[in-house]
């Protein structure tokens, strides 16, 4: 387990990065837009997985921070008239960090199913605010006219391809940071807490503190994802912090595999592509997603990534035999 997704698997990193870099040059315009979304959701899902997979805290309220990030950016650009990209993104990230430290304070006290319900309820609270505080958030009309400011260097990100590369940058950065965190002593403490909290306490760890920090880190990156999504849509609405979004990102983690670092990324790709494609053919797309989830939980507790790893193991073994 420990080894899976760790170790020196540089091709696992290098090959995808090369592919991602050349993709816009070869692929169709729309698929670039789609992939941009996938990358954003990958950031979102991976951040959730710091709680879900590494600390063992199943959160059904992660969209709250996605929403806070999105709304902060949206309000700053559309209402505040601030057109400095980096300023807005940083503000969004900070805002979501603050909110997550607030909500975390209440939810971290619990664990397991209790934690799931508590995060859910608190996220609903955030959603309710987004819906009812019309003067600030525009209610269910949301905030439109969130034009993408330039990140400097006179590069316009109104162009979808440029924007894709910008998101790719954030994606790589986020995954790198989170990967380091997961492999760091701190990351191992989180895994220890997932395995047995009482044992970690008996070893002298103040587990509450570690869980709390993990929660905040996760929320912060979720905020980044939200800000990027708002940038892409040019628009923010209460759908951002809604439970449906929380469910979607949870789904991504579970389908991709929570115990493997790249699992959520994979899950984000699969779920979002399936959702986009299926929903073009039938309005019954959520049925398909439901089936995928149940099958994943029942037959691939380690998710798709888990299966891939096993298959790799089998291939190794086959080679060893011959």
């Amino acid at each position: 387990m420990e080894r899976i997704g760790y170790g020196k698997h540089w091709p696992v990193v290098a090959i995808p990065i090369v592919l991602l870099l050349v993709f816009p040059q070869v692929a169709s315009f729309y698929s670039v837009i789609l992939l941009t979304e996938v990358l954003i959701y990958a950031i979102f899902a991976t951040s959730l997985n710091l709680e879900l997979g590494y600390t063992g805290l199943p959160s059904l309220g992660h969209a709250a921070f996605f929403g806070v990030g999105g709304y902060t950016l949206g309000i700053l650009i559309a209402k505040g008239g601030i057109h400095n990209f980096w300023l807005c993104v940083i503000a969004a990230v900070l805002a979501s960090a603050v909110v997550s430290s607030l909500l975390g304070f209440f939810s971290i006290r619990t664990s397991g199913a209790f934690f799931l319900m508590l995060t859910f309820a608190l996220a609903q609270f955030v959603w309710g605010i987004a819906w009812s505080w019309r003067s600030l958030t525009g209610g269910d009309d949301g905030i439109s006219g969130v034009s993408r400011p330039t990140p400097g260097l006179t590069i316009s990100i109104m162009n979808e391809v440029n924007f894709y590369y910008l998101v790719l940058l954030f994606f790589a950065g986020t995954l790198f940071l989170l990967y380091r965190i997961c492999r760091s002593p701190f990351g191992h403490v989180l895994q220890g807490i997932r395995e047995s909290e009482t044992r970690m306490q008996a070893l002298g760890y103040d587990t509450w503190k570690y869980k709390y920090v993990a929660f905040i880190v996760a929320g912060t990156f979720a905020g980044l994802a939200g800000a990027l999504k708002a940038c892409q849509d040019g628009f923010v609405s209460p759908a951002y912090p809604s439970v449906v979004t929380s469910g979607m990102v949870l789904l991504m983690c579970l389908v991709g595999g929570t115990r493997i670092f790249l699992g959520p990324t994979l899950g984000a790709a699969v779920v979002w592509v399936v959702r986009s494609i299926v929903s073009s053919y039938t309005e019954y797309w959520s049925f398909v997603l439901g089936c995928i989830l149940i099958i994943a939980v029942m037959f691939a507790p380690q998710g798709i990534a888990g299966y891939l790893v096993q298959v790799r193991g089998l291939l190794k073994r086959a080679r060893a035999k011959s």
């Binding site: 199943p58 619990t110 209790f114 319900m117 439970v243 949870l250 959520s286 149940i294 939980v297 029942m298």
Partner: protein, 286 residues
């Protein structure tokens, strides 16, 4: 505006709404108490109960039969779910995730079967009108709902206190290991309890349908309400379900009446307050 009549009227509306919430939460609490599983699909069962009950009532032109069958058929759905999905899953959290998938599936199945128009269960004539209490008319059906809710509460209490299975359930709520020790078929118990819980959810749905038309999306709303009630009341305690239900019902009613601008945030405010004072809910242990 603040005369006794309208206040009483409001209070009774709140209580009747609370009764619906109680019926909903009771099943949820049962399931959690014994199986330690959060049934995310509880709202879906509620919705399904309403849809099935209404269809059956319209086919058979029999109100009571519709209500009965609505509840029972959802119970059967619960039975099937427990038997063929949960049995195979060792971890509680996995079971929770599965119920999560069930939401998506049931939502689309019922949309496919009943479309997206709202449905209302039309009550028989003698329940349709309203009676006057302190010069304020009050719908008869809500009085019926009140009675049914109280009866259910009483029934559940008797079941828990007086019957053997009930004592097991209570034991399960207190300490499931012990249940295993004293040699009770925990598998069978789980199946029974989950079926019962689903049945209650379906019952809540069909009982509510004359007041609350059923249509796609109601499953999420109801699930939210159920969760709030349960978190406020305290997980795994039927008392919690009753008190939480009534509290939220009244808070919702009077909140809307006194400060309508707060709107949807209100019940979450109540929730937040309760959690800050008592993180484990009113009757939540530990």
């Amino acid at each position: 505006m603040f005369d006794l009549g309208s206040l009483l009227n409001l209070a009774m509306s709140g209580i009747t709404f609370g009764m619906i919430l109680f019926l909903l939460a009771a099943g949820f609490e049962l399931m959690f108490g014994v199986m330690r599983i959060i049934n995310m699909a509880h709202g879906s069962f509620f919705m399904l109960g309403a849809y099935l009950g209404i269809s059956i009532a319209r086919q058979t032109h029999n109100f009571l039969f519709g209500i009965l069958m609505g509840a029972v058929s959802v119970g059967i759905v619960g039975l099937v779910t427990e038997r063929f999905l949960f049995r195979r899953l060792p971890l509680h959290l996995q079971q929770v995730y599965v119920t999560f998938g069930i939401i998506y599936i049931l939502a689309d199945i019922s949309k496919w079967a009943w479309g997206s128009n709202p449905y209302v269960l039309s009550t028989p004539a003698l329940l349709a009108g309203s009676v006057t209490i302190l010069a304020k008319p009050f719908p008869i059906y809500r009085l019926v709902l009140l009675g049914v809710g109280l009866l259910t509460a009483l029934g559940l209490w008797l079941f828990q206190e007086k019957t053997r299975v009930g004592s097991i359930v209570r034991a399960g709520v207190d300490d499931r290991e012990m249940v295993g020790v004293i040699g009770i078929n925990i598998k069978l118990l789980s199946t029974l309890v989950f079926t019962g819980g689903a049945l209650l959810a379906g019952f809540a749905g069909i009982m509510a349908s004359p007041i609350i038309p059923v249509l796609p999306g109601i499953d999420w709303d109801v699930m939210t309400l159920a969760m709030v009630v349960v978190v406020v009341g305290g997980l795994g305690s039927l008392r919690g379900a009753l008190v939480g239900g009534l509290l939220i019902g009244l808070a919702d009613t009077f909140g809307k009446f006194l400060l309508p601008q707060v709107g949807i945030v209100l019940i979450f405010l109540v929730l937040a307050v309760v959690l800050i004072i008592r993180p484990s809910g009113i009757f939540g242990g530990g």
